[in-house]
């Protein structure tokens, strides 16, 4: 059965239900490709009927131990909270807003990268207290909406649901509907409470869902034939250089965007992204509901990926000839530098620890540089993306182009597994996104590169940019060796002696000693 994106509902179906996302798996990348059955799932998404048993639920390892991690509400803060002229109200106790300062810094960095004026984030917490849990927080929410209007005179006001308000049953949809006429701008409910999805990336879908429902122009009067949507975060503007030869201007969504930049998304000629995990929902919805085609191509990483991505875009805008010329000249331009770097990185091993589709892109870049990847850690695996395009199976493309990854692990920010993950492979450095892991891995004698500007590895120059940075990262091994010599992680000898990172899930007898102690008391 084909499942279309439903913009009539205020809620988004979770990734685990919509895409079959998992957060625990261990094996080879080849095996995961086989089990994921992308083609069958794609057929299903497009209304076809695969053979029985194909494209069913993926096996998933459940972990009894989890650690500090991100949630969908945080993702909404990082997306909607970084719009320049819209307000995000977190309808929650104050703790849910305690990452505001971090996203404020991120926004300052992003604005600087994009050449926009500096400003603070426009966020409000309803600061719910115990009495609001008992008597309800709607009055406070209405008040917050009025305060938002008065303080910031925004183009739109978003309301983010949190765990506490979802459990107490706050009706943010009704309040939004009721308040919209009074404040005269869209008031947009976002159902992004942290417990609702096991993976934070559902938060991206929730944020996009909100803007698709209430901001993106439903009946565009004109088409902007030279405008292309790039679903991104706060990365530097390197897409402009890549797409100028095709006569295209970029429209970055959502971080650091204005209301108008979001509104015009339906006027664009196409949509693409730096990461299918992040951009898949928005791209698919713009295609299905607004007729803006989503580029069905590999992601723009490594030489082959970038070539094919450019060709797919060129086809949509009728610039095939220009694309071929550009591709040829770019190959020539980067070749001497690339050869130098390949020599430098000879025999080096790396490991990527990031979200799923982005990891596939990054590993391609490392492979282009001749760096071997014996292992990888992705924080989730989506066996299919919303667009389900024929050419969007990012993991398959990675393996087909650059070879298998024997130790391919899916695990959501479980730092305690790092000793085992690193012991079974060679790695001279790690590239890590998402906070919490890099500092832990850094204790194990390996230098880590916290990749904040997500556009660094994009395109032809992206390969060289990553190479230049890695030269410095490798040199920092000295710091990590010092740390390793003197500082120990908080785990016991038994844990360090284990080889299976999922032993707590895989060995049924692992808690016998503790259980025995507990039983003795009874």
């Amino acid at each position: 059965m084909s499942k279309k994106i439903n913009l009539n509902m205020t809620t988004v179906e979770n990734r685990e239900l919509r895409l079959g996302t998992i957060i625990g798996w261990d094996g080879s990348a080849k095996d995961l490709i086989r089990q994921s059955a992308y083609d069958e799932r794609s057929l299903k998404k497009h209304g076809g009927c695969p053979a029985k048993g194909q494209g069913c639920r993926l096996c998933e390892i459940q972990s009894p131990l989890n650690q500090e991690t991100m949630c969908s509400n945080a993702i909404v803060q990082c997306q909607i909270g970084n719009l320049t002229d819209c307000v995000l109200i977190n309808h929650a106790p104050i703790g849910c807003s305690s990452e505001d300062a971090k996203f404020n810094l991120t926004m300052h960095m992003g604005l600087a990268r994009r050449g926009k004026p500096q400003q603070n984030t426009l966020c409000i917490s309803t600061n719910l207290l115990e009495k609001d849990m008992v008597f309800g927080g709607s009055a406070k929410l209405r008040h917050a909406i009025r305060v938002a209007k008065e303080r910031y005179n925004p183009k739109a006001i978003f309301i983010a649901m949190a765990c506490a308000t979802a459990i107490t049953g706050e009706d943010i949809d009704s309040v939004a509907e009721e308040m919209e006429p009074e404040v005269g701008v869209p008031v947009i409910p976002l159902h992004c409470e942290g417990f609702r999805s096991k993976h934070w990336s559902t938060g991206f879908d929730v944020a996009f869902h909100g803007v698709l429902r209430q901001i993106v122009e439903k009946n565009p009067k004109k088409k902007q034939k030279d405008l292309i949507n790039i679903i991104a975060l706060w990365g530097s503007d390197w897409f402009t250089d890549l797409l100028k030869p095709l006569g295209l201007r970029v429209n970055y969504l959502l971080d650091c965007a204005s209301f108008e930049e979001i509104r015009q998304a339906s006027e664009a000629v196409a949509t693409t992204t730096f990461c299918e995990t992040l951009g898949g929902y928005m791209g698919a919805a713009l295609q299905e509901q607004f007729g803006v085609p989503q580029i069905d191509a590999p992601q723009p990483y490594g030489i082959k990926g970038t070539d094919e991505w450019l060709r797919a875009i060129a086809k949509v805008v009728g610039k095939e000839k220009e694309a071929e010329e550009f591709i040829e000249s770019e190959h020539k331009r980067i070749a001497p530098k690339l050869a130098e770097f390949r020599e430098f990185f000879k025999g080096k091993h790396g490991m990527v620890l990031t979200g799923s589709a982005y990891a596939h892109g990054l590993i391609s870049v490392l492979a282009e540089l001749g760096i071997k990847n014996e292992g990888a850690l992705v924080f989730h695996h989506d066996p299919i993306y919303d667009g389900a395009g024929k050419n969007q199976d990012t993991l398959k493309q990675l393996v087909e182009t650059y070879g298998d990854i024997p130790h391919y692990t899916v695990s959501k920010t479980r730092a305690f597994q790092l000793p085992q993950l690193l012991n079974r492979i060679k790695a001279d450095f790690l590239i890590i996104r998402h906070p919490g892991l890099a500092s832990v891995a850094g204790h194990l004698g390996v230098p880590t590169f916290a990749l904040g500007d997500e556009h660094i590895p994009v395109g032809y120059d992206g390969i060289l940019r990553i190479a230049e940075i890695l030269v410095g990262v490798l040199s920092r091994t000295k710091f990590n060796k010092t740390l390793q010599r003197h500082v120990r992680l908080p785990y016991n000898d038994w844990w360090f002696s284990q080889t299976d990172p999922f032993i707590l899930s895989n060995d049924k007898n692992v808690f016998k000693d503790i259980e025995k102690k507990l039983e003795e008391v009874i």
Binding site: P93, K140, F195, S197, G436
Partner: protein, 449 residues
């Protein structure tokens, strides 16, 4: 209730504290203690991001940060109860972590769905595991409140009953909330150094000089509890008074500079009733060194003719707003133009703090302090100050950065959040810290950072 909301907006922009469940960081500040966060995904990353990262990038240690066990509640837990998830989490934490004490902190989700955490934790306590629980949902209070909850939970469930002797000269140091002020580690060290120099035996419960959980077991043996803060920790000291019949000395002002520190030492020594010879000798030695440096500094202060600040505004928690204002107004002669306290100081402590700023800050200096948690209003309060002479100084948070740039003031971050400051080991209190504080202010006025 709705009346109250109409009267005073209680919404908050530009947030300056985390919620109660952020007190996992209080546990991290005890050597060998492991927090077990019984909350939703996101809770720990958000609060920890604010306290350890966007707070002068002080970082975390041991079972803090990315190593912190967390239940990461799912929809399933919310519908069917989360106690099984917590049980698995506790078991696996006990299985693989090196720990002397485990503290379960329950956040909004666990509290609202009504999981029976006490019963579960009790079964582990009865089996001999050193584990306690604290109720720290975000809707009950901020991370300062959560800190006090955790402290009382450890006292009640881990330290336990005591009927032995008290040891004269042994003092429990109750000072600031760990990971909240950017300098808390260095400040703990400086205060402990000063108290030791004065002849006391100091039981350090948090930070670099905390020897581990054995210090907590020693709490009931102390002669008294010393609370150095306008309000944080008073609730714990009151609890200890009831529980162990242990008296406490409450000194609201963190001492900064030689005169304030000497006064502080004399007050504590007097209260402890110990011999004054050692403390007086220590005061003499420290004063000599302090003024050796201050005399050198005075050349800059007198001769530098390219301008320096004469007025300041400060926004911080009650403890540091008070400590820094007092030092700058009383020892340097900077004029306070605005003081905004942002830590949601409990109502019963506010009159004393207000009175302090009005009549006790320095001779001829009096200022009406503002209590305001909403960062938008904080910025407005500072924005509205009419600075008159020279380049003014603003001490605040990263939220004031744009304002300081617009107003072209000297500015540095002293309070949460701080994302343009990096602290490894620094103190701005006592003898040594005060001199570092001077360095920081006047480095800024000569164009440095």
């Amino acid at each position: 209730m709705s009346e109250q909301i109409k009267k005073k907006p209680t919404v908050i922009s530009n947030v300056r504290y985390a919620c109660a469940v952020g007190a996992t960081n209080t546990v991290v500040a005890i050597k060998g203690a492991v927090p077990i966060a019984n909350c939703s995904p996101g809770c720990q990353l958000k609060t920890t991001a604010m306290l350890t990262f966007e707070n002068a990038f002080q970082g975390s240690i041991a079972a803090g940060g990315g190593n912190m066990p967390s239940a990461n509640a799912t929809e399933n837990d919310v519908v069917f109860g989360g106690i099984k998830t917590l049980d698995s989490l506790i078991k696996s934490t006990l299985k693989i972590y090196e720990g002397d004490l485990f503290v379960v902190l329950t956040g909004c989700t666990g509290e609202l769905i009504g999981d029976n955490v006490p019963d579960l934790v009790r079964s582990y306590q009865e089996a001999g595991y050193p584990i306690v629980y604290a109720n720290t949902p975000g809707f009950k209070g901020n991370n300062l409140f959560g800190h006090e909850e955790v402290v009382n939970a450890i006292i009640d469930q881990y330290v336990g009953p005591y009927s032995g002797e008290k040891k004269k000269g042994l003092v429990n140091l109750w000072f600031e909330t760990p990971y909240y002020n950017q300098n808390w580690r260095g400040d703990y060290q400086e205060l402990a150094r000063i108290l030791r120099g004065a002849g006391l035996e100091v039981n350090v419960l948090f930070g670099p000089e905390n020897p581990g959980v054995e210090a907590w077991k020693k709490i009931p043996q102390a002669q008294f509890n010393l609370v150095v803060s306008p309000w944080v920790g008073v609730r714990n000291a009151e609890h200890l008074q009831k529980k162990y019949d242990q008296p406490f000395l409450h000194i609201p002002e963190i001492p900064v500079g030689e005169e304030a520190t000497a006064k502080f030492i004399r007050q504590v020594v007097e209260y402890a009733g110990i011999d004054k010879a050692q403390s007086e000798e220590f005061i003499k030695q420290e004063a000599e060194i302090y003024y050796y440096y201050l005399e050198h500094f005075s050349e800059f202060f007198a001769e530098y003719w390219y301008g320096m600040p004469s007025e300041f505004a400060v926004t911080a928690d009650a403890a540091y707003a008070l400590a820094y204002s007092k030092f700058l107004a009383d020892q340097i002669g900077l004029i306070p133009k605005r003081v905004v306290i942002t830590d949601n100081t409990p109502a019963k402590f506010r009159p004393a703090i207000t009175e302090y700023f009005k009549n006790n800050i320095s001779e001829g200096v009096s200022i009406d302090v503002d209590f305001e948690e909403d960062g938008h209003e904080v910025i407005k309060l500072i924005e509205s100050v009419e600075f008159k002479a020279g380049k003014p100084l603003i001490l605040g948070t990263s939220w004031e950065l744009n304002l300081a740039n617009d107003k072209e003031t000297l500015f540095f971050e002293i309070s949460t959040p701080s994302s343009e400051t990096l602290v490894v080991n620094r103190s701005h209190i006592g003898y040594r810290g005060a001199l570092q504080f001077l360095e920081r202010i006047y480095s800024a006025s000569v164009g440095g950072k």
